[in-house]
């Protein structure tokens, strides 16, 4: 089996509130995923559930009041500050959500070039802009002058300028028309084929199931299932976790059925299953512990026994 390029084991990220040492809130609780070269892994979850924190954690850019535990392993090496400093922007790149990630007082072109002014970089930047249908004049504009689609293309070009081995994209397509969205996702697909790893973070399930290889289902600060995207096309019986199945049923093409309740706030001291309050399969043991089951490169955190005959094994 291939070696993962990025391995995250038992990551927990929390924040200290208002300068006091006691109060903490957790955004990510005991999360584990693996990103393989040549694959698009999409982390799917509800908006605002803490997925962006994950991106910051991987890049080593958590704010000062953050506390984290767990390990992050890149290319077989445990990452530390020094390593991340070298990797950021070169081997690992990030594509942010919104235009607010660009300095409002600096011209767009300069930012895409990272303030380099040598001929080679300038030529490269102009070539990439051209490829993405951005006019030559765009490089001299300010961020606020860009339309939604143009902004997205500019943000993507910051990554294209480099040759990363791992791309992390946070909500790459909101506000884009179908054409641009398709184009963006095609770019990712093509890039992945060159043996690169891509992690997408989104709440758009539809997008995820059409363009990813694997889906990591994010709920309550944890990954409750890692499954193959194609299962969503093959039928609900291939999906394991009750929440994943609920997501399947919630899709417009599958009945658009929501489930009552809302996501709980992660609690580090809670050892039971995070989904138990909304789960149709809940049993007594779910209150105190949850089983992590691994099948080849899939995973599910649930006390239901998926090895029994009721489930068809994936092809």
């Amino acid at each position: 089996m291939k070696r993962p390029l990025l391995e995250i084991n038992n990551l927990s990220v929390g924040f200290r509130m208002n300068g006091s040492k006691q109060k903490q809130s957790w955004a990510v609780n005991d999360l584990s995923i693996r990103a393989y070269p040549g694959e698009i892994l999409t982390i799917v979850g509800a908006s605002g559930s803490g997925k962006s924190v994950l991106a910051s954690a991987i890049l080593g850019l958590l704010p000062g009041n953050a506390i984290s535990s767990g390990e992050i392993i890149y290319d077989g090496k445990n990452v530390d500050k020094e390593l991340l400093n070298k990797l950021r922007g070169e081997e690992i790149t990030f594509i942010p959500q919104s235009i607010s990630s660009l300095d409002p007082l600096v011209k767009v072109g300069k930012q895409v070039r990272n303030f380099a002014s040598d001929d080679e970089t300038i030529k490269k930047q102009r070539k990439i802009f051209k490829e993405y249908g951005l006019n030559r004049s765009v490089e001299k504009t300010y961020p606020f002058q860009l339309s939604g689609g143009m902004a997205r293309r500019v943000l993507i070009s910051t990554t294209v300028m480099k040759n990363p081995r791992l791309i992390i994209a946070d909500e790459p397509t909101p506000g884009l028309d179908i054409q641009s969205a398709k184009k963006t996702m095609d770019y990712f697909k093509n890039y992945a084929k060159k043996d690169k790893a891509i992690i997408l973070i989104t709440h758009d399930i539809d997008l995820a199931i059409h363009y990813s290889d694997k889906l990591a289902i994010f709920y309550g600060g944890q990954i409750v299932e890692i499954t193959k995207a194609k299962y969503f096309h093959q039928g609900i019986q291939y999906l394991k976790h009750p929440y994943t199945r609920a997501l399947y049923r919630s899709l417009p093409t599958n009945g658009f059925k929501p489930i009552p309740g809302s996501q709980p706030i992660p609690d580090k001291d809670d050892q039971g299953c995070i989904f138990r309050d909304r789960c149709e399969c809940k049993v007594q043991i779910c209150d105190s512990s949850v089983n992590t089951q691994k099948f080849e490169d899939e995973m599910v955190r649930c006390n239901v026994d998926f090895t029994s005959e009721k489930y068809r094994l994936p092809v």
Binding site: L61, R88, F94, P96, D103, P104, F115, Y142, Q145
Partner: protein, 324 residues
């Protein structure tokens, strides 16, 4: 709002304020329970001619409205009346004394601006470090300290104990005014300027500090780091770019405070400028001079505020770009 529209609107506001200052000060003066003008005339130290011209200028026998019209017309012609103490035109007294004050203010303004900004940058960049915390306490302490006491401390330390700097005035005693050279002037201005600088750096430093922190915590600096920008590049290309103009704006907006402070500093060091003059005028009941100085200084403050407002405009590229 259109850029020219904005500039004109603010300019008119400035003019209005200047006019109002004259109205208000005049009204206060003529409605004062002690009616200083009459008092002065009654003391018998004026000749008949002088009394006539003073009555004429202040229109003591006219109605209030008439008096105001007469007075403001005089003002517009540059005639602020005569100083009671100095026995000559108010404007000429002011222009004599203004030179030294301007020199003091200019040095203070520049020093506080540059040093204050640099300190603010440092504090923001190294937030919560020992250096930042010490500087913060120093800033907060100096903000609570009356300017004149700081001046006195300076006197104690530098002039008395160490004997490095002169005790006061703006030039060596016993030397003719035209023989004093620029170095002497600077030498005598150092302590008052130092005093004012210490008192006014905290304001701009603390403001810059919070702006720097705001920038360092922004989305775009986060992305810059994600793109591999070095800390040096971030400071130079993002932090400074986003904090210099706000700092300058604040500086221009603190004209009012700095003028007030310089009045105190001048008095502690017996530095002959508008500050000491205003006290002399006040203590001596020289209303025309007092009014004159108030109005002139207010004009400077309003101009300063106007410039600050304009700078606010230029900070925002959205408005700048509309010109293209």
């Amino acid at each position: 709002m259109n850029i020219t529209h904005y500039i004109i609107k603010n300019f008119m506001k400035m003019i209005l304020l200047i006019v109002l200052v004259s109205v208000v000060t005049f009204t206060l003066a003529v409605n004062s329970p002690i009616d200083p003008i009459r008092q002065y005339i009654g003391t018998g130290t004026v000749t008949d001619d002088q009394r006539d011209s003073i009555e004429e200028y202040w229109g003591l026998n006219d109605t209030k409205a008439e008096r105001f019209v007469k007075w403001s017309t005089n003002l517009l012609h540059g005639d602020f009346g005569d100083s009671i103490i100095f026995r000559k035109g108010v404007l000429s007294v002011i222009s004599e004394k203004a030179g030294s004050s301007l020199f003091l203010m200019l040095s203070t303004f520049t020093l506080t601006g540059i040093l204050g900004y640099i300190i603010g940058l440092f504090m923001g960049r190294f937030r919560d470090s020992i250096g930042d915390r010490i500087l913060k306490s120093i800033c907060i302490t100096f903000s609570a300290t009356p300017t004149f006491w700081v001046g006195m401390l300076m006197l104690i330390i530098f002039s008395v104990k160490l004997g490095i700097f002169p005790i006061g005035f703006s030039m060596p005693i016993g030397v003719r005014a035209d023989e004093v050279n620029i170095f002497d002037k600077i030498y005598h201005t150092i302590l008052p300027a130092l005093t004012l600088t210490l008192v006014f750096i905290p304001n701009i430093a603390l403001h810059t500090r919070s702006k720097v922190i705001e920038v360092l915590e922004s989305d775009y600096v986060l992305f810059a780091k994600a793109r591999g920008e070095s800390q040096k590049s971030i400071m130079k290309n993002h932090v400074i770019k986003n904090t210099v103009l706000p700092a300058i704006t604040i500086q221009f907006g603190s004209f009012s405070e700095i003028f007030g402070g310089s009045v105190l500093a001048e008095n502690v060091f017996s530095y002959p400028g508008l500050g000491t003059t205003i006290v002399t005028a006040g203590l001596g009941g020289d209303i025309p001079l007092l009014l004159g100085i108030t109005i002139i200084i207010s004009i400077f403050v309003f101009i300063g505020n106007f410039i600050a407002d304009l700078l606010h405009l230029f900070i925002n590229p959205m408005i700048r770009e509309e010109e293209i």
